[in-house]
């Protein structure tokens, strides 16, 4: 079997230079790593544009690039829901309303905030769940990278795993969180420049924007939808049967736009950690907003090539890879197009962009893992009261430990093909209740620690029961992972609809239980203890030092307005 991509010497040269730079950044930062704060929190010293780009880059992993271009082909323009409704509002909310408590509380992690606001057991539950999820997520990134390289270039699986793990270990061990963040910024620019030619060439080949739309209208009609189903985002969301995504407007707004997106962006320490590394409160609050500006335009970089691929495939210009059952393998859209349009030289750059995003997916998780492990598990339960040098050492060892566990997770992922779906399911079950609890904690001073702990557990439990009772159309309950493992009492039109509703139920039950139990339990924390942690007991922030155009609120209005205008254009 021939390689799907053929690399020339120049492509290898570009990839090798990139790897040297990545490790070089870690090396250059090594001499600043004198305390656990420098290593695990980047010394809280980075400017807003650096943390902002890292914030968005930590999320722009290769799985996102591959997944979103796949959805672009499969569902069309409606995929932008994952950005304009499924990310931007939550990022604005995090910046304006939640960052003051995360950053201002001096907590070093999300679990530590839970401890300050609620109690030790709520922190413990979240810290352990989070540590497990980051290791799994990092392992899955590694597995996906190795599997892709094996398929495209016939690089041996073990070699890819070990080399990528080695590079990630080198730069996170040397430079800690700063190194992970710096590399995320570098990676952001490489991804944008590496994918831009693909957008240009595929659109040009598809006959420009209007040519592509014409072809896609035909595709939509052929598949039994209205002509605009692939090119408009809201017009066909009246019912779940009229758009290829299989979700109606209520599910999109409540499930994706509210619960899933707020659950991810406002609670996930992986992204929140980037904002917490900023050098001031104002910079911390601007971090998600500066990240939101490029986020608004990323659909044009990843979804549009997917849509163009669909149009080109229907015209016969581009052939999509097929699955064993004869349906198109949407996940290979982006790599097929790299091979189709990129000659040697730029091909090395495009591949570097993919490799870079896989590795930053790992590094981001490892740097979040070692912080939570060191502060929330080791320092809290295993060995409290040591000097800082000790915790710096533990943080560094946790980095090695995290990478080794990730390698284990990568091989686990190789054993069980659908571990990726499994992880996403767990994420939606854990994050949605966590958002409910954090939200109540921040904006309702009465909410008690015991209520929060049980609210979190019940929310997760209800999500699991819902998953056990429902299934997406066409899935087999025996597979367990798709749902219906208790008994099938409801069938959703798509897996996406099922996961939206799982999250809605998880959030609702966690909120109801936390509120209800709060009235039955006693608040153990005094108003003094809750100062800086709860909205009503924290002095309002006045951004008087900044120039007006540099204030978080102004940035938020710009981000919101841009998103609204684009949503109307592509309505």
């Amino acid at each position: 079997m021939p390689n799907l991509l053929t690399l020339g010497w120049i492509d290898y040269l570009i990839i090798i230079i990139y790897f040297l730079f990545v490790i070089g950044i870690g090396w250059a930062l090594k001499r600043y790593m004198s305390s656990s704060k420098a290593f695990l929190e980047a010394g809280r010293s980075l400017p807003a544009w650096v943390t902002g780009l890292a914030f968005i880059s930590a999320n722009l992993g290769a799985l996102e690039v591959i997944g979103m271009s796949a959805s672009g082909a499969q569902y069309g323009m409606a995929t932008t829901h994952f950005y304009w409704i499924g990310a931007i509002p939550a990022m604005i909310f995090l910046a304006l309303f939640m960052m003051p408590f995360y950053y201002g509380s001096k907590a070093r992690s999300v679990p530590e905030y839970l401890k300050l606001r609620f109690n030790e057991k709520t922190r413990g539950l979240n810290a352990i769940a989070f540590a497990l999820m980051t290791v799994l997520a990092s392992g899955i990134s590694m597995y996906a990278l190795a599997a892709l390289m094996e398929k495209l270039l016939h690089w041996p699986f073990d070699v890819s795993v070990l080399v990528s793990a080695g590079i990630v270990l080198a730069y996170t061990y040397l430079g800690g969180l700063s190194s992970a963040i710096y590399n995320e910024v570098l990676q952001f620019f490489i991804i944008v420049i590496g994918l831009f030619p693909l957008v240009f060439l595929s659109l040009k080949d598809a006959g420009g924007w209007s040519g592509m739309n014409e072809t896609l209208s035909q595709v939509a009609v052929d598949k039994g939808y209205q002509a605009g189903a692939w090119t408009q985002m809201w017009s066909h969301s009246g019912s779940s049967a009229s758009n290829p995504m299989g979700v109606e407007w209520f599910g999109i707004i409540m499930g994706l736009g509210f619960v899933l997106s707020f659950g991810y962006w406002c609670t996930n320490f992986l992204v929140v950690q980037r904002a917490m590394a900023a050098n001031s409160m104002s910079a911390a609050r601007k971090t998600p907003l500066i990240g939101a500006l490029p986020k608004i335009f990323i659909p044009f970089l990843v979804i549009v090539p997917g849509m163009a691929a669909m149009a080109l495939a229907s015209k016969g210009t581009l052939s999509l890879e097929l699955m064993p059952d004869g349906s198109p393998n949407y996940n290979s859209v982006i790599t097929s197009m790299l091979g189709h349009y990129y000659p040697s030289g730029i091909l090395g750059l495009g591949l570097t962009a993919l490799l870079a995003s896989f590795m930053s997916g790992m590094a981001g998780n490892v740097s979040a893992f070692n912080t939570v492990w060191t502060y929330d598990i080791y320092q809290s339960y295993i060995k409290p009261g040591q000097n800082d040098d000790h915790y710096l050492k533990v943080g560094q060892i946790a980095t090695i430990f995290g990478v080794v566990l990730s390698i284990g997770a990568a091989y686990l992922a190789k054993q069980f093909g659908n571990i990726m779906d499994f992880l996403q399911m767990i994420f939606s079950m854990v994050n949605a209740p966590l958002f409910a609890v954090l939200f109540l904690g921040m904006f309702w001073k009465r909410a008690t620690g015991n209520a929060a702990f049980w609210g979190l557990l019940v929310g997760i439990g209800c999500a699991m029961v819902h998953h056990g009772l429902t299934i997406p159309a066409g899935a087999d309950p025996a597979a367990v992972i798709k749902g219906g493992w208790i008994s099938v009492s409801h069938t959703y039109p798509s897996g996406m609809a099922q996961s939206f509703w799982t999250a809605i139920i998880a959030w609702t039950s966690a909120t109801v239980f936390t509120v209800g139990l709060t009235f039955m339990t006693k608040q153990m924390k005094s108003n003094e203890e809750l100062g800086g942690l709860v909205y009503s007991l924290t002095p309002r922030i006045v951004d008087k030092d900044d120039k007006w155009w540099n204030r978080p609120v102004v940035l938020a209005v710009i981000v919101g307005a841009l998103t609204l205008v684009l949503s109307i254009i592509f309505w």
Binding site: I14, A28, Y182, L186, H340, G345
Partner: protein, 71 residues
């Protein structure tokens, strides 16, 4: 003082820019080679763009270095 991230970004883009644009110039006459990219010499154009961006980053880094030295 911490490492300024603009320096590695500027250096990497400058190096990639030089490599790609030189490669683009050398291979530019090979029309068959660029048939893939719809007859655009993508290496040359992207290389030049990266070069400009890299130098721009380095100039910014130099400027902020000066500002720190002489406030």
């Amino acid at each position: 003082m911490k490492l300024d991230i603009k320096i590695p970004i500027g250096l990497l883009f400058t190096i990639f820019g030089i490599i790609l644009s030189v490669y683009g110039l050398v291979t530019g006459s090979d029309t068959e080679f660029y048939a893939k990219s719809l007859n655009f010499n993508v290496n040359l154009w992207i290389g030049l763009f990266m070069l400009v961006f890299g130098i721009f980053m380095l100039i910014l880094a130099r400027k902020s270095l000066k500002e720190i030295k002489e406030p």
